[in-house]
């Protein structure tokens, strides 16, 4: 290449690069893009947020409080199942069904923080495996095998936990008749509910200060925690937990059966409890974000609000909208995936919005911030 050609080429390239840049900048100035983000990032970088209270309240007032409620409700479910076993009538069956749904609520809310002992101690699969291994369940029921809490514990996770109990209590929707439940099923139901109660108690102890105190590992992040080297890591864990469940509800729990029009993929299909399950998942996000379960604490919202009040207000609205939009899907969900396509699509979109704000805005805010 001759030198003057080179100069011309260089000149052209520079000019075109400048042109592209200036068009971009003019475009930005006219639409106002970028300016908000820059302010927010600067604010986040400059302030130092002491996350101790947020993390402590998350660990104790949200996570431990939810697990405590779960364990209490599992105890009530066990009581109801024992009553059904003692006197298998329709009233007792309906009480047990209601107790199952009541215990399901804190569990689904706890799916917004599926990390720590619930995972490392194998409790999530023991409590919530899906699908139920119905071939093997029939095998066990039809055998002479002893049915105790210990014998159930030795079985696969697909033969115990919420969905096995659900299958035995509801079978197909809420039309189950007490007289259809065999004595062997009642025996299995009692033993497997005892096992569920043992697992929820284990989970609660794992977080309690008087137990293994995982709450302390989270609350003392960046200080005495052996798990989290910094408060930022623990704050990221909180946001990650919310992202994972938003993703699962939007792109898995609702979308999979909806896209395939396949009712066999629906969660909690025996009890027709799917819509409550999904709403409680998003309520779990709300609990983590607002720092509350039964008692109010300091949530992530205070941190977000301190940096970007508009984002805080927007996200709170988006979460509530997602809960309401899921609630607007007519029951049962497994019929709505084909009969109420628009309502289901609206719910997917609303939860996706929550997921996007968490990923694009709130996680970014946490990662750009300085904590104590």
């Amino acid at each position: 290449m001759r030198f003057n050609q080179y100069l011309t080429k260089l000149f052209c390239r520079t000019l075109s690069a400048l042109l592209v840049l200036s068009i971009g900048l003019i475009g930005c100035s006219l639409t106002g893009c970028g300016s908000d983000d820059d302010d927010v990032t600067t604010a986040a970088e400059e302030s130092v947020f002491d996350a101790s209270t947020t993390l402590n309240d998350f660990a104790n007032k949200v996570v431990l409080a939810t697990y405590t409620d779960l364990d209490n409700k599992a105890g009530e479910l066990l009581g109801a199942v024992q009553a059904l076993n003692a006197a298998p009538n329709q009233a007792h069956l309906e009480l047990a069904q209601a107790a199952w749904k009541a215990a399901r609520t804190p569990w689904e809310q706890s799916e917004a923080f599926l990390f720590g002992p619930v995972d490392t101690q194998g409790l999530d699969p023991a409590l919530d495996s899906w699908p139920v291994n119905r071939v093997d369940l029939d095998g066990v029921l039809n055998s002479g095998q002893g049915l105790t809490e210990a014998s159930i514990d030795a079985l696969e996770d697909t033969l115990k936990g919420f969905h096995t109990i659900e299958y035995l209590l509801f079978r197909d929707g809420d039309q189950r008749k007490a007289e259809d439940i065999t004595p062997r099923e009642l025996e299995y139901l009692t033993a497997t509910t005892e096992n569920l109660k043992a697992k929820t108690a284990q989970l609660r102890r794992a977080w309690e200060a008087s137990g293994e105190n995982y709450a302390g590992e989270v609350a003392n992040a960046g200080d005495t925690s052996t798990i989290y080297q910094s408060q930022k890591d623990a704050m990221q864990e909180m946001v990650n937990g919310m992202i994972v469940i938003a993703d699962e509800v939007a792109n898995g729990k609702i979308s999979d059966p909806f896209n395939e029009s396949d009712t066999t993929l629906v969660e909690s299909q025996f009890s027709f409890n799917s819509i409550s399950d999904f709403q409680d998942n998003i309520r779990g996000i709300q609990n983590v974000y607002m720092g509350k379960f039964m008692a109010d604490g300091q949530g992530l919202n205070e941190f977000v609000n301190g940096v970007d009040p508009n984002l805080d207000a927007r996200f709170q609205t988006e979460v509530q909208t997602a809960i309401d939009t899921i609630g607007a899907i007519p029951d049962p969900f497994r019929d709505s995936i084909t009969a109420q396509r628009a309502a289901v699509q609206a719910a997917i979109d609303a939860v996706s919005t929550v997921q996007q704000t968490l990923e694009n805005d709130i996680l970014k805010l946490v990662l750009d911030s300085n904590f104590e």
Binding site: L18, L21, S22, L25, I26, S29, F115, G116, P117, D119, T120, Q121, G122, P125, S129, W130, P131, V132, N133, R134, V135, D136, G139, V140, S143, A154, E156, D157, T158, T226, I227, Y228, Q229, S230, D233, A234, Q236, E237, N240, V244, N251, G252, D256, T264, L265, L367
Partner: protein, 471 residues
């Protein structure tokens, strides 16, 4: 007209601003470029090159590579769902095909959060560890692989669907011992012993047993993309350079090639490709057949169901799960500015650890996975076999790997096992209860390095561990 004037003034203002910006950017760039330490630090953080993720939470091992395209991410997420799929007894509407004999019911149940398994604690069920079995092969040259035990195959399936006998159970016992550092610090080391019990039919007395805990599954696409020539160049089978370290490639059966290929994956590098690794896990661990391995693991045994429904898993699922493990992100290093970590890194070098745990490799091209191609990575492995001495030996050869040879495991992410998996159990059988125990178990070719660590001051040993924890 008015608007146009405003705009043209605006353009000159913007052009001036751009010029100013360019000057500033140039200045910033050059100051970074003139500081090699700064450049190096920023490079080292990126353990997985462009697939690196900055996350030190329980999700550190289970995040999609950030450089995935939209299509790639969608495929990765499909694989994620399948990796979590729980299998049940046939017939079933969802996920049939489990067993009849198996070790676990889903990928994720062993590789929890795509992380590391461990040996069961006393009274606990065996969930993320399994046992390979075989018969002695005194005259074989190793190229045929392990000799199956009649009625058991090459892996003990300790679980089975209802009504079918599991192949047996294993009891684990530990003998506590002590190791003394030269400055008088006692380190407790436990030696495991294994006994197969409740075998459904008598086992030969000379059966060889090899324990294997589930390894982490992130970063594997990068390791698959390391050119064979790179690995072979690191090999020094007869220790011609006299550094006491050999480094031997394993050559193992490649189902797709119908011949031998370089082994890369597994504790003894006995799998040549990720697709075969994944197919073998479905086959051996869950009893699920694929087009690669279409014959039930129980075929020829009384547990065999004879259903003729193989392959039980579609090629599409095999493909997305393979892609999933190829494209999981590698977590970034932490604490690089900490002088203790920096000192620990120097000690890692001076003690000779980096002779096998090679810090930096360049990947080549992995077809259809551009995300892992042409990356500078920091896996801390040479993917070669090394004799680790009698203390760690399983005495069960696996293709060319002898009974005391193991593949150098990658160390990336090792400091995050606690936050992800809630434990710090290391080595192929999880016997080490912390990183120092794991280091002190090193023997054979690593004995000199072990001795160097033994002879370190307490603060140096702590620095070495701090470095490992930063990975």
């Amino acid at each position: 007209m008015m608007v146009e004037t405003v705009k043209s003034n605006y353009i000159s203002y913007v052009l001036f601003f751009i010029a100013l910006l360019c000057t500033l950017i140039a200045a910033c760039d050059s100051s970074d470029l003139t500081d090699p330490a700064k450049m190096e630090v920023s490079d080292k953080k990126f353990s997985g090159g462009e697939t690196t993720v900055f996350d030190a939470t329980s999700h550190a091992f289970s995040t999609p590579a950030p450089n995935l395209s939209a299509d790639g991410l969608a495929k990765h997420l499909e694989g994620d769902v399948e990796f979590e799929a729980v299998f049940v007894t046939v017939p079933a509407e969802v996920n049939p095909g489990l067993g009849p004999v198996y070790n676990n019911i889903s990928c994720i149940n062993c590789h929890a959060r795509d992380g590391r398994g461990r040996a069961p604690t006393s009274g606990e069920k065996l969930t993320s560890m399994l046992f390979r079995v075989s018969l002695p092969n005194p005259n074989g040259d190793g190229t045929q692989g392990p000799v199956p035990v009649p009625g058991f195959g090459t892996q003990l399936n300790n679980r089975a669907i209802f009504g079918v006998p599991p192949e047996g159970t294993v009891t684990i016992n530990y003998t506590e011992g002590e190791f003394m550092t030269s400055d008088g610090v006692k380190v407790h080391l436990r030696t495991p012993s294994y006994k197969i019990e409740n075998a459904y039919q008598p086992l030969p007395d000379d059966v060889e047993i090899s324990p294997r805990v589930a390894p982490v599954v992130f970063g594997l696409g990068l390791l698959e993309a390391v050119p064979e020539a790179t690995i072979l160049a690191l090999a020094d089978e007869d220790d011609q350079d006299g550094d006491g370290i050999s480094g031997k490639p394993n050559y193992v059966w490649d189902v797709q090639k119908n011949g031998l290929s370089l082994g890369r994956f597994g504790w003894k590098a006995n799998q040549p490709t990720l697709i075969q690794q994944v197919a073998s896990a479905y086959h051996d661990d869950m009893g699920i057949t694929t087009s690669l391995l279409p014959r039930e693991s129980s075929d020829g045994q009384p547990q065999y169901d004879g259903r003729g429904d193989d392959p039980e898993l579609s090629d599409e699922i095999l493909d997305v799960v393979t892609f999933y493990v190829q494209t999981l992100a590698v977590p970034a290093r932490r604490g690089l500015d900490d002088p203790i970590v920096q000192h620990g890194e120097e000690l890692f070098e001076s003690a000779g650890c980096s002779g096998c745990h090679i810090p930096t490799l360049e990947t080549g091209t992995l077809s259809d996975v551009p995300e892992v191609s042409n990356q500078t990575i920091h896996p801390y492995t040479d993917l070669l076999l090394h004799d680790m001495g009698p203390g760690l030996a399983d005495n069960r050869p696996d293709f060319l790997a002898s009974g005391s040879e193991w593949r150098t495991p990658p160390l990336w992410g090792i400091g995050l096992v606690k936050v992800v998996n809630g434990h710090t159990n290391f080595l192929h059988d999880g016997r080490a209860r912390g990183l120092l125990e794991a280091v002190l178990w090193h023997g054979g070719e690593a004995e000199q390095s072990r001795d160097a660590v033994q002879g370190m001051s307490a603060s140096d040993r702590n620095a070495l561990i701090a470095f490992l924890e930063s990975l």
